[in-house]
């Protein structure tokens, strides 16, 4: 009886590891298929699947808000935008038979450097990680509910404590719209003229 809770914990840990390995290998497989596929419509759908898998992974890491955004933006809207773009530019990739050494080398080296970088990151979910011990974190977690009246700390940090940042982000999104409008609306007038003549 004494060993039961411990055994349960080990069992849970093994299941978690198995799910993580499964999801990460699915991500790797999807990425490889994206590289190999020539049909760009299929590639757009596969990147949507990639986003959805990432969202699942974020949920496992307890980052529900991030997972939510990834599923809505990555799997939903950006896939549609990608398909919309493909309908403009055509969905056939230019044939490329030769293996390009330099990009492959750069990607491999960057990947290895990033992996080396993760060695310095403190282990995931440990109670005494610097991020959990820092006084800012402690303040947010303990004071936020009666300083802002918000049970959800993510919201209170985003909208209140870090309100400036969120305003900056909103402005960035607004700037994206201005950019798209400037780039896309100029030529559209000519095209509308063109189709009007044709119809």
């Amino acid at each position: 009886m004494v060993f039961n809770p411990c055994k349960k914990k080990v069992g849970r840990w093994i299941i978690e590891i198995l799910i993580n390995v499964f999801l990460l290998s699915m991500l790797a497989v999807t990425a490889l298929i994206v590289v190999r596929t020539q049909n760009l419509f299929a590639v757009a759908m596969l990147t949507g699947i990639y986003s959805l898998l990432s969202a699942t992974f974020f949920t496992l890491l307890d980052a529900v808000d991030v997972a939510f955004t990834e599923a809505a933006v990555g799997a939903g809207v950006s896939t549609v935008l990608m398909l919309g773009t493909l309908s403009l530019v055509g969905h056939r990739q230019k044939k490329q038979r030769t293996v390009q050494i330099v990009p492959l080398l750069i990607v491999t080296v960057t990947g290895l450097i990033l992996m080396y970088g993760t060695l310095d990151i403190p282990p995931f979910g440990e109670a005494d990680n610097p991020v959990h011990l820092h006084e800012t974190t402690v303040h947010y977690l303990e004071e936020s509910s009666h300083e802002t009246g918000m049970p959800n700390v993510v919201t209170s940090v985003l909208a209140s404590y870090r309100g400036y940042d969120t305003m900056g982000e909103t402005t960035v999104i607004f700037t994206a719209m201005v950019g798209v409008l400037l780039l896309m609306s100029g030529r559209r007038k000519d095209e509308i003229g063109g189709t009007d003549d044709g119809e």
Binding site: V64, D65, F68, T69, A72, V73, G76, V77, V80, L81, G84, T85, S87, L88, V89, G90, H146, E147, T148, G149, M150, P151, N152, V154, T155, S156, L158, A159, S160, G163, Y164, T166, M167, E169, T170, T171, I173, F174, A176, M177, V180, L181, M184, S185, R187, R188, E191, I192, G194, T195
Partner: protein
């Protein structure tokens, strides 16, 4: 896609629920995961779905390009406006506590609600504008 009755009916049934879910995500953001950004994207996704099935011209009758552009700008205005309002009430920029002279916590709640509304409006407008700009152009091939 415009002649497929199953897709048309399914879209008709789904769209109000997607919009409702977006509002739920928006207003439940105080208690659970979610907030203005996610809600804005979901709200826009409802219109994207509508435009995909019923055609972009029909969608533009429901939500004209100009209105979407206005939304994109209005959200930032709401956000910055809250900041200016708190400054006028004697606080710092975006110091929501000053929005309610009696209860600072209540002011915080109100401020966050308004700011999230601003984020929702901008994200929704921008997503729809970008979608219209890309999908509404004449096709080069075919």
């Amino acid at each position: 896609m415009e002649s497929n009755p199953i897709l048309r009916i399914a879209t008709k049934i789904m769209t109000p629920y997607i919009l409702l879910f977006a509002l739920y995500v928006q207003f439940h953001g105080d208690y659970g995961p979610g907030g203005g950004f996610q809600a804005g994207v979901i709200f826009a996704a409802a219109f994207v779905l509508y435009a995909l099935i019923y055609g972009i011209e029909t969608a533009r009758l429901v939500l004209p390009m100009g209105v979407a552009t206005l939304c994109g700008a209005l959200g930032v205005l709401i956000y910055a406006g809250v900041g200016i309002a708190t400054m006028l009430l004697g606080g710092g920029f975006l110091e929501y506590g000053f929005l309610d002279s009696h209860d600072a916590e209540h002011g915080q709640h109100l401020g966050i609600l308004l700011v999230e509304l601003g984020v929702l409006t901008t994200v929704f407008g921008v997503m729809v504008v970008i979608f219209y700009s890309f999908a509404g152009r004449g096709r080069v091939e075919e």
